[in-house]
Subunit: 385 residues, 2 copies
Amino acid sequence: MQNFDFYNPTHIIFGKDRLASINENIPVNATVLITYGGGSAKRSGLIDKIKMALGNRKIYEFGGIEPNPKYETIVKAVEVVKNEQVDFLLAVGGGSVIDGTKFIAAASKFDGDSREILKGGYTPLPVEEVVPFGTVLTLPATGSEMNPTAVISYEHAKYFFSSPLLFPKFSVVDPTITFTLPQKQVANGVIDAFIHVTEQYLTFPVDGRVQDRMAEGILQTLIEIGGTSVSEPENYDARANHVWSATMALNGLIGCGVPQDWSTHFIGHELTAMFGIDHGQTLAIILPSLLVVRREQKRAKLLQYAERVWHIDTGSEEEKIDQAIQKTRGFFESLGVKTHLSEYGIGADKIPAIVEQLKAHGMTAISETGDLTLEISQKILESSM
Amino acid sequence: MQNFDFYNPTHIIFGKDRLASINENIPVNATVLITYGGGSAKRSGLIDKIKMALGNRKIYEFGGIEPNPKYETIVKAVEVVKNEQVDFLLAVGGGSVIDGTKFIAAASKFDGDSREILKGGYTPLPVEEVVPFGTVLTLPATGSEMNPTAVISYEHAKYFFSSPLLFPKFSVVDPTITFTLPQKQVANGVIDAFIHVTEQYLTFPVDGRVQDRMAEGILQTLIEIGGTSVSEPENYDARANHVWSATMALNGLIGCGVPQDWSTHFIGHELTAMFGIDHGQTLAIILPSLLVVRREQKRAKLLQYAERVWHIDTGSEEEKIDQAIQKTRGFFESLGVKTHLSEYGIGADKIPAIVEQLKAHGMTAISETGDLTLEISQKILESSM
């Protein structure tokens, strides 16, 4: 097991009818800015219920944060925070709204060019404090409700930043709030959570046994309930397990002391930025072909994955790995998500431009060991046609 | 899945050679009281290394906190904190030292009779703040390094209290620090962690799938590496997995949204209080016989336990459950821990007095459904002879 630090102070408020607890978790005299997305939270009456829970606090609203939130959009909320002396942010949405709110929280305390925050990666934020914020989760997928990380789009690229200052103070995670989501978003959410786990699990063994078992437990749960969560939106048990799997997939725990490989995300980000393919879809396209191309580097963990997650216990090593990859692809397709680039109308002729973008963004030596070159990314893309 | 809250802000600093990080995690001008136990931390040179890491801070020491720490002992440290204006506590030890330090942290900010804290259970502490504290873990067992709970002995009984104020600020969890532990303590530690998991897992199903898989993952890990952790004290991988299993067993996560049954602990506590049997040993005595007596109430989870943890896939339901209980007992015995009360020199004639103590401490309706009466406790004790 590798050395690690683990720190995660977000208070999770999980279950049915938990909105009232917002009141206890925001300072009584706070001026609150509610941030949200395209308007479904407004139309469904959720925003009104949240305002009721906030009681007499002064409230502002900032809607219109889009999927793959854009710097140009969210930077406008910073003005509201500064002008109206907002002292608490409440993100009502999925990963895009929460990620956007993390940017707003940091940028509102920063006097320089806020693109500096955007492009920060793991470097310390250029601020000592941020505006505190909570979340009401509406879409189980990214885990942003319990981590200090955000991905923001700017000029056709995705930028990532992370800081211990950016943990939500609390997150209300009520599975019933997600019942009205479109099927496609639920399916994408299952895949996003699934691949958050594989990025921290399908690498090489370091004898991190509890971490491996936890990762396998989340993967098995998603396989068991993913289809039901998509097809029976009001099945509480299935959705609750989906939601908690997604939160646990990316709150830092399963990544403790083990190698990580975010290559599927890095390659997938380019597909979203260039062609607007949904984040979850890009992962479903890339992961199966990445596993085919990287089977030697990932052999030991792929065998463990085949045996423990898919319960494949017959056949040669090669057959077990083949079956595991096929079953992975089959699982994504069973959720209604296509797994070939060509099925999204992208031809092989576009691959050189995608590789060019990876190069432009410095993705020339990715993977758990830094050995995944642009040439290998190209092979993965070719294999995903 | 049941509704739940999860909050755990302890910063875990895990791995080899992590003592230097103490310096970054305690305020520079703090006056520090180091608390420790019987003296092995002193003799091994660990306390000296910690003092080095603390640099020029003013340091006091309070040693002699015994296993099953006594109120009468730890209350003396409160005077040191108050008289010397100590503003940070650093617990160097296992669960007993850390639990004792939690009491010191709260009692030092309290002006009334500090036995009020001791007997508080889950009621809010009678203080608004506590003296902040960190820990350097020397014994993997109780999970106290990452939870806000303590058990303190007073007048031949054990008292429990818990408060969100009592999370350690940080815990240095370095498996190599535990290499010099006596085998018996390592074995007890494996059993303590194992039974922290079963208390949150062997109840009744509520479709908490990730929680179940995590619990099963910790149990399987302890079964896989427990023997090696005892017999090969300097096997880093085995010990690291043991240590992380023990921390994860009782940091609140596997208990999220599932029923809990602390009956084995409650009955075991009386055996420690009356006869001085080690905490881990009392659990090894009680759990197997409790499972025999409670097989109907726990049937569904016992079958799941048999299949997923012990991989028993043949035989009738009764045979599977029998085998799982036998294997559990066999595992404890394989670590060198006896599982029958008579093997500790306690005869059946003592059972009425034990039951009397359970009655005196209000343990008349325990278990996950509150249906475990004194009569059933008596049966469990008889079955454990």
